[in-house]
Subunit: 346 residues, 2 copies
């Protein structure tokens, strides 16, 4: 990234050792393998990458180059950022919003579709100048989505209000982490039959749903909403799917105690810990504090010295990514690219 | 914040109802009471506010106006930001760093002191042009700090290398959440006697330590490092100290299910949940997802409608604040000020 006359710096690092820590690092080879694994099952528009998992227009552009030119998002800010980056083909806010005017005002620049599940979110879409909607249907998880029985009437009201109703969406998020495949197939089918019943009443060409955890099981949808598979995390890795963790937080050892621990400079502000502490592949994590993680140093771990770098694997990718400003893309120890995490906040 | 001819907007809100959500809101009256409670015990330079808890030069300037003109920080970035904001009186990096050159280069603009606990961090301070250090001593928590027995020799080496050794610091963080006062007094004294033994060997005028949880118990230090008392959180509130939670995350109801829940637009990306989920004072939180929190709606809760706003209280202030771009300061429902959270990242 620099010519030979320029020494490496935190702004323009040559290798992982030059990075200012904590730093979010993506192993490009693993990331590419994850993409290939997904693309074999969900090519092109059968996959609608969910930007909430990576919040970066750089990564979104890389997926678009693979033929995944439609995206879904969890916040209006994410949609605004995709449009600003020229990724305008087919953007879905897979969430309810009352702030629909932020999206309506982009209608001439991009094809934007918004999920609705109530009269209020329908009214907001109409008032905000949104042109296309999906009916969001609750399929078993206690979060957004209308009842199956309400989907048809809501679609009718939307069409009467002049909106294009493109179909339905429903997220079987409560089933992502089911580990037994047979049980998962049974439960996903049951959940998706509710979505298909709603689709029957709603019409439109789109049946959108799923996620990384059901990417090869949910065969009832026309498009998969998935994002975690790209970077993965230790929670998803438990499922034993053919995706690998490509994301780590690189940290620097800043203190070593002869009593049996070492301290690195990445803590609660560098990780989303709702699924647990990060994992240190070479040993045990003792605990995380705001800007520190203490590691157990014993006969089962390597010896660490102040200044050493260690890589920790997050337990939950989405809230971890949202704490950082950029991904550093690496091949081995070499930093080959930087993608800004430019879709954060609201 | 606007004249009468300008409608309120998310950029320049008049009231809490105009805020783009999720939004971090500080109740000014409570914040002022928290400051007064602390100032009665730790006036002026006896308090060294810890900016890691709020990461805002706006709030730091407000504390400086109260006479707390010395600050401590957990990251070089926080020190850089304080200097850029003109808060240069007496800045302590209460943490080890190998990136000391970032602070050394500010030595002519501000009085900067860096904690050291090893030969390596001493060498980094010298090489980086840092002029002042504290010897960081481990006083019971398995994190940074040298052994008591190493403090004197490290101070000698620092002085031999031309550094000014201003004293010692030691954080009894493992005792913050002890709830029984008598037990806490006993344990803090035991911990601080280690720090005083190190100070005996090190010399210098500063004995720095403590935190919100020991603000009126730790009488052995010359200055208290505390930040959480300003905004508080539900974890600290359990202690029954005379501080109150002044910080909430305001969220919008975006979906309501007749099956007994409502969904708001603030989730794991708006909170630090290492101490648990946020609290909804009017009812129960069901669960948090990336950009959602589902609330239980039953006979014990109010009825909520789409578009309503609710306030959730974070369980841990520091990692919550680090997820947001600004504090909105309020009096009742009126937004009276905005402080940027400008000391985030690394």
């Amino acid at each position: 990234m620099t010519d030979a006359s320029t020494p490496p710096s935190a702004e323009d690092p040559d290798t992982v050792h030059d990075l200012r820590t904590p730093a979010l690092v993506v192993d490009r080879a693993i990331y590419q393998r994850n993409k290939a694994t997904m693309d074999a099952v969900r090519p092109g528009l059968e996959l609608r990458p969910h930007v909430k998992a990576f919040k970066s227009t750089g990564m979104a552009a890389d997926l678009a180059a693979d033929g995944h030119t439609g995206f879904c998002a969890a916040t209006p800010k994410e949609i605004e950022g995709l449009v600003a980056a020229g990724l305008t083909d087919d953007l879905l806010l897979a969430n309810q919003t009352l702030d629909a005017a932020r999206l309506g005002r982009l209608s001439d620049q991009a094809q934007i579709t918004v999920a609705i599940d109530s009269d209020e979110t329908l009214a907001a879409a109409v008032a905000g100048g949104v042109r296309n909607v999906l009916i969001d249907v609750e399929v078993g998880m206690p979060r957004c989505g209308c009842d199956v029985s309400e989907a048809g009437p809501l679609a009718d009201k939307a069409r009467a209000a002049g909106l294009e109703v493109r179909g339905v969406m429903g997220y079987e998020g409560h089933l992502m982490m089911v580990t037994e495949r047979e049980k998962k197939e049974y439960l996903v089918e049951k959940s998706m039959k509710q979505l298909l019943a709603a689709h029957e009443a709603v019409g439109g060409e789109i049946v959108s749903g799923g996620g990384t955890g059901t990417y090869d099981i949910n065969t009832w949808i026309t498009e998969l909403q998935a994002g975690s598979y790209l970077l993965l995390d230790t929670d998803y890795a438990r499922l034993g799917q053919p995706f690998e963790t490509s994301l780590t937080v690189v940290a620097t050892v800043i203190s070593v105690s002869p009593k049996g621990w070492a301290v690195v400079d990445a803590g609660l502000k560098a990780f989303g810990v709702d699924h647990g502490n990060p994992t240190w592949p070479d040993g045990e994590v003792m605990f995380c504090a705001d800007e520190h993680t203490s590691l157990v140093i014993d006969e089962n771990s390597p010896t660490l010295s102040v200044g050493d770098r260690v890589s920790l694997v997050p337990a939950h990718v989405d809230p971890t990514v949202a704490r950082h400003e950029q991904f550093w893309i690496t091949e081995g120890d070499t930093v080959v690219d930087k993608w800004d995490i430019d879709l954060r906040h609201w």
